[in-house]
């Protein structure tokens, strides 16, 4: 077959596109070269082999009865973690409501830009930094954790709430008003049925994320199961770390399953 017979499936690139591609490729090369050059890849591994550590993490706690009582104790700490996520999530859902109304284009009007900016700013701060701040302000403990979760969750809940407010269908409201309904009736029968399932589903989704986040918050002393996790990890007490890992994985997978079921029923 001659070369001429081949069909080119892509369109010809213009000079501008070619320059653009070269620029992108060059800057990416530079970025990666710099990052590989500046990064220190050394590892300080322990004397024991990975196999031994994995055995101590996941097998010993299950077969050695001396570690069984600590499953109960860590289970309660996991429940505290879940309580932090829940209390923080409920508070965040309440705090997010006015912000979302402000940020939605149809209800906030010109100020919606302000609300969106505020929500974006919160979302670009990692939850751990909120943890650092609130532990510094009110001392270590689960109260700091609830505060961190609630403020951190406003960003995402507020954004999703405002999007669902923006997508409200005006037709039922107009119909209720046309048949003589007042504002309260228009809200109760026209708006609420549209947004309530979505709001519940959003808050539940965020709760799943918050359970993970409040596990992490323990690292800075904000209560829950993260606190014993980092302590046992520092002491290289792998059996205890293993108990915590197993507890967290089991609880989180179960919560995700239940919450996912409820959410698929809601919407």
């Amino acid at each position: 077959m001659k070369n001429k017979d081949r069909i080119s499936l892509r369109s010809q690139r213009t000079l501008k596109q070619k320059t653009m591609i070269y620029l992108v490729v060059m800057s990416l090369t530079f970025l990666y070269a710099f990052s590989l050059w500046s990064q220190d890849f050394s590892i300080a591994s322990s004397q024991s082999s990975p196999g031994t550590i994995l055995y101590r993490l996941f097998v010993v706690p299950l077969i050695d009865p001396t570690y069984w009582p600590s499953f109960v104790e860590r289970g309660w700490q996991m429940i505290e973690t879940i309580a932090i996520a829940y209390a923080g999530g409920i508070a965040a859902s309440l705090f997010a409501l006015p912000v979302a109304i402000l940020a939605a284009r149809n209800s906030g009007g010109r100020a919606s830009y302000l609300g969106k900016l505020f929500l974006n700013a919160i979302r670009s701060i990692p939850e751990l930094l909120f943890g650092v701040f609130f532990v510094a302000a009110v001392g270590p403990g689960s109260f700091a954790g609830v505060l961190a979760i609630s403020v951190n969750s406003i960003g995402m809940i507020g954004k999703l709430y405002s999007e669902s407010i923006e997508s409200i269908d005006q037709a039922p409201i107009a119909a209720i008003k046309a048949s003589g309904g007042n504002d309260l009736q228009a809200f109760w029968y026209g708006i609420l049925p549209q947004i309530l399932p979505q709001f519940l589903s959003i808050s539940l989704f965020r709760f799943e994320i918050d359970v993970r986040a409040s596990t992490i918050l323990g690292l800075v002393g904000a209560g829950g199961i993260g606190v014993p996790l980092i302590l046992s990890q520092q002491q290289r007490h792998w059996e205890e770390v293993g108990v915590i890992l197993i507890i967290v994985i089991v609880f989180v997978v179960i919560i995700d399953k239940i919450s996912g079921k409820i959410r698929s029923n809601l919407v």
Binding site: L9, Y32, S35, L36, S38, Q39, D40, F41, I43, A44, S45, P50, I53, L54, E80, I82, A83, I84, Y86, A87, I90, A91, A121, S124, I125, P126, L128, L129, V132, F133, V135, A136, A137, G141, S142, F143, G145, V146, L147, S150, Y189, L200, E208, R212, A213, T215, I216, L219, V220, G223, L229, Q233, W238, V241, L245, V248, I249, V252, V253, D256
Partner: protein
Amino acid sequence: MKRKKTSSSKVRLFKPSFYIKLIGVSAGVLVLYYLAIRQTNASLARMLSAFPIFFRMLIEDFFPPDFGYFPTVVNQLIETFNIALISTTLAAVLAFPLLFFSSSTLNRHPLSYGGMRVVLTIVRSIPNIIMVVLMVAVVGLGSVSGILALMIYSAAILIKLTSESVESIDERPIQAIKAMGGNTPQVIRYGVLPQITPIYLSHILYVLEINLKASVVLGFVGAGGIGQLIRRQMSLFRYDRLGLIIFVLFLAISVIDYISQTVRSRLA
């Protein structure tokens, strides 16, 4: 003429069962909230009353930041960015072939498809700190453990996000290529890739944003990055330095989020 009002002419917009459900759900939510508050001692009133403390804290302790500490922070920030960049890149490479196994349009083998799905769901639901602790335990202290942990986690996110896009692609080019006698690699190259590449790139950038935020955690358990500075300064109660770290980190993340979102909005 005045319309006569009788109870029978009243229109019921909601069924009675709706109200029962509404009350039941609200009661359940409130009972759980009461239990959670008892456990954490964090009532709404206590939360609101704590706000003056935060402002005093911000003004007196975090402000003014210790700018002399800036070079150290930037050094660690570069490491944090490196970890995020390298782990995202490795995840993108790792996720790409797996993508085709985990989308039902291309992989019609129920066992491998279902297996992929289950593994992905479990990996994504595990908090990333668990993965990091596991990696530090098995691999050792250092940024490599952090990179590996974030890589696994972000590969799972990438596959999940993109396989949904793969499932919703336009099937007609694929059928056309098949009709002209194209084999599977050709179908992927000319039928699938042109459709999913922009989406995939956009998801990679999104995962980079997530990883940058997640990599703050790594330093706390000895997996490199800016977390180790936060931990040290926290235990020394140097809030002026913590203020600087938080400020610099917020700035860096905002800039990268902005760049990434601009590129993503042009891609998709």
